[in-house]
Structures are given as structure tokens and as C-alpha cells.
Point group: C2
DNA sequence: ACCTGAACACCGTTCAAGT
DNA sequence: ACCTGAACACCGTTCAAGT
């Protein structure tokens, strides 16, 4: 009997949509290393080569997954109080979106590492920072820093989740887990707050006419 | 004729040292994706299986490379003026160390992503920050943020170097290159400065008795 | 102590040909 | 428009056996 937890539509043929959705399922259940073209093909009950009709290569598929993972963070617009609040909220939204899928940060980082989809991500922060009265160049630089901060932090966070997953939880929560989670939350918020605080301080520096404090 | 740009010692046998050094050579010349166990073995004029006598697996080898790449940044101690200067200098040193090898940032990031060698890197910054009078917890958090910032930035930088490598430079420098380089330098220094400025601002906040500006 | 030979269990990608 | 069949050119890792 052919092993098939497959999800083949009644028509018998797949769309780009099917492929991406199934890939996201495998990613979330088994992690990025187990998301292979061959495994994806067999989940779709299809030969490996068939995937290359939908996507030119694996990187393009991963980029599509990155887009879908980021969608909730990018689409959303909020009305928090002040540009600092909106920027912090955007960081939290990005973090939540990455945490929503197993290895989410690695998927996005690897897509960024081949030069795809960076603009949306940076604009996520740049808008709220410009809104604080900063020039576009400053906003772009600070946004880039924020993106690196969030991706790095969530990457580490998800790595620990993997470690913890190896331990067996019988029927209760281990008390260390909760403590570690809040420590992660605090550490994340602290890093983001540092950057934002640096920006406001920079603003103050500039308006007090000492224009080159941060410039080398 | 067997293709062999090999570097086999006169004795006929290799050491961990040989293996790591040759791996670093391949990394620097051809990049991380081309650094395979089989390719490394053939450069050493050895069967692939032989490598597993020296290192238990590929991840361990990569971790060793990460250590060697980071060594110049970690060992060095300087006597810059003030903790801000020392922290900024540490960031510049880390960046230089990563830029010294092709895909250096990716090597270190991937090692960090499997939970190895993180402590040295964080301590690189934590020492100078504690030196500024911050408590260990704050220093650790700020250091972590700085590490993520630097790794993310250099990762992007090295990705662009790869792109540029695809274009053919005939016999002169293209004017855009220099402009882009200084833009990268500035952007890097700006991100680091933002974080440090955030720390000093935080310090000021605390000493002026308003203790919860950054705490949610 | 260090390596060979040979295998195991996989990968991503291509492409003529089918429906 | 979407897929099969079959191949190409690889991977990392293991392990008995050799020197």
C-alpha cells in the first residue's frame, strides 16, 4: 500500500496555492530541515518533478512561505499612541507572526539572505519611524536594525523551543518554562526599547544643535 | 589523472588542524554552499568517511570554523576611551572578523542557531557594557541585541558582495561600489550607535528617578 | 592513530513524453 | 495546464576492515 497522508483535490490537479499551503503544513509540523521537495511531493501525492511546474526552484517556494508567514504582520495597521508605541507594536506583531510557524524566523532570514522580500519588512517599521519626524534615511537604517534584532531574537527563541521539544512533558507544565518565556519576552522588549530610546535621544541631540553625536 | 589540488602532508596523515584549515580555505574561495564533506575530503586527498574520525559531524566542523573566524575579534582587548568607545570598537572588530571570510556571518549564525559558541560572542560586548556601570542582566540583554544587529548587518553585506561578484569587473573599480561601501559602513555604525545611545539614555532615565520608561 | 571501500538513505533539478 | 517516469549529479553518515 502506498503511504499517503496526501491531500489531492477531487479534480486530481494542484495549484500554486495547494503546494504552498501543504508546504506550510509540513514546515509547521516537522520543521525546515524536513521540508524537502520530495517529501512535499509525496504529501501532495505527486512526483517530485511536478513541483517545478508550480515553482522554478525550492528557494522560490521558501520565499512564498516567507511572504505568507509575514502577511499578518505586514497587512495589519494599528492606531497606538505615538510613533514609539506604533514601532514597538510593529515589532511585537512581527515577532508574533514569526512565532506562529515552526522555524518561521529561519524561513524569513534565509529568504532575506538571498535578497528577496526585504522591502516590505523594512517598510513595516520605516513608516512609523518617519511618522516620528525622522528623515527617510534615518528611518530606513533604524528599521533595518530593528528587523535584524527581531529576526535574531526570534531565531534564538525558536531554537530553544526545539531543544525543549526534545524533553518529554508528561502531563503538566514545567515551572522553568514559564519563567524562561517571560525572560524571553522581557529581553525582546528590552532590545526593541533600546533602539527606540536611542532614536528619541538622537532626536533630542539634534534639536539641541549638537549634530554629530552619533556620527562616528 | 585524479584531480587533486590536495594538501596532503608528507607523513600521509591529517590532523584536526589540517582539516579545519583546508575547510576554511574552501569556504573562503567558494562559499558555504560549496563546502561539502565530499569536496573537503577530496581537497585533502582522502575518502569522505575519513573526516568523521576528526569531527563527529558537519555541524561540529562548522562550529570549529566559526570559532576560528571569531578568534581575532574575541581575543583582542583594547583601551579605547570610555565604555561606549570600547563597545563600538568591539562591534567593529566583530564585523571585521566576519568580513574576513566569505560567508563568515552565515557560518557564525548557523552555529548560533544550533546552540553553540554563543557565550563568547555575548561576553565580547557584555564586559565593556558592564564596565559602563550597567548590571549584568542589562549588559547581557544589550549584548545579545548587539550580536543580532552585527550578524544581521554583515549577513546582508556579504549577500550583496555575492551579487556584485556575479558582475564582471574588467580592470577598474565601478564608482557605485565605493558609494555603497561607505553607505554600508555608515548604516552599520548608525545601528550600533543607536543601541549604545539607547543605553546611555536609559542610564540617564534611571538616575533621574523615572525608573520605568523602558519597562513596558 | 588514521584511513579505505563500500554501502545506505537520501537530496534538488531536468526533461521528454503523456493526458 | 498539470503531471509521470526516469534519470543526472550530487549529498551526509556509518562501519567493518586495513595499516
Amino acid at each position: 500500500m502506498p503511504e499517503s497522508n496526501n491531500v489531492r483535490p477531487s479534480g486530481g490537479r494542484h495549484s500554486k496555492e495547494d503546494v504552498a499551503a501543504t508546504a506550510l503544513l509540513i514546515l509547521d509540523q516537522f520543521g525546515l530541515p524536513d521540508l524537502t521537495m520530495r517529501r512535499l511531493a509525496s504529501a501532495l501525492d505527486v512526483q517530485p518533478g511536478a513541483l517545478y511546474w508550480h515553482y522554478p526552484n525550492k528557494q522560490a517556494l521558501i520565499a512564498e512561505l516567507a511572504d505568507r508567514i509575514l502577511a499578518p504582520a505586514v497587512l495589519f495597521t494599528d492606531e497606538s499612541q505615538g510613533w514609539e508605541g506604533r514601532t514597538q507594536a510593529a515589532a511585537a506583531r512581527l515577532r508574533d507572526a514569526l512565532l506562529a510557524y515552526r522555524d518561521g524566523a529561519e524561513v524569513v532570514t534565509s529568504t532575506l539572505a538571498i535578497g528577496l522580500g526585504a522591502t516590505d519588512l523594512i517598510e513595516l517599521f520605516a513608516a512609523s519611524i518617519r511618522n516620528g519626524g525622522f528623515d527617510p534615511r534615518t528611518a530606513r537604517r533604524a528599521s533595518t536594525a530593528l528587523v535584524h534584532l527581531v529576526l535574531g531574537h526570534v531565531g534564538q527563541e525558536q531554537q530553544r523551543l526545539q531543544y525543549d521539544g526534545l524533553g518529554v512533558v508528561v502531563d503538566g507544565a514545567r515551572p522553568e518554562d514559564a519563567r524562561r518565556e517571560t525572560e524571553q519576552d522581557d529581553s525582546f522588549a528590552f532590545g526593541v526599547a533600546l533602539l527606540i530610546r536611542g532614536l528619541t535621544a538622537l532626536e533630542a541631540d539634534l534639536t539641541s544643535a549638537d549634530r554629530f553625536v552619533w556620527d562616528r
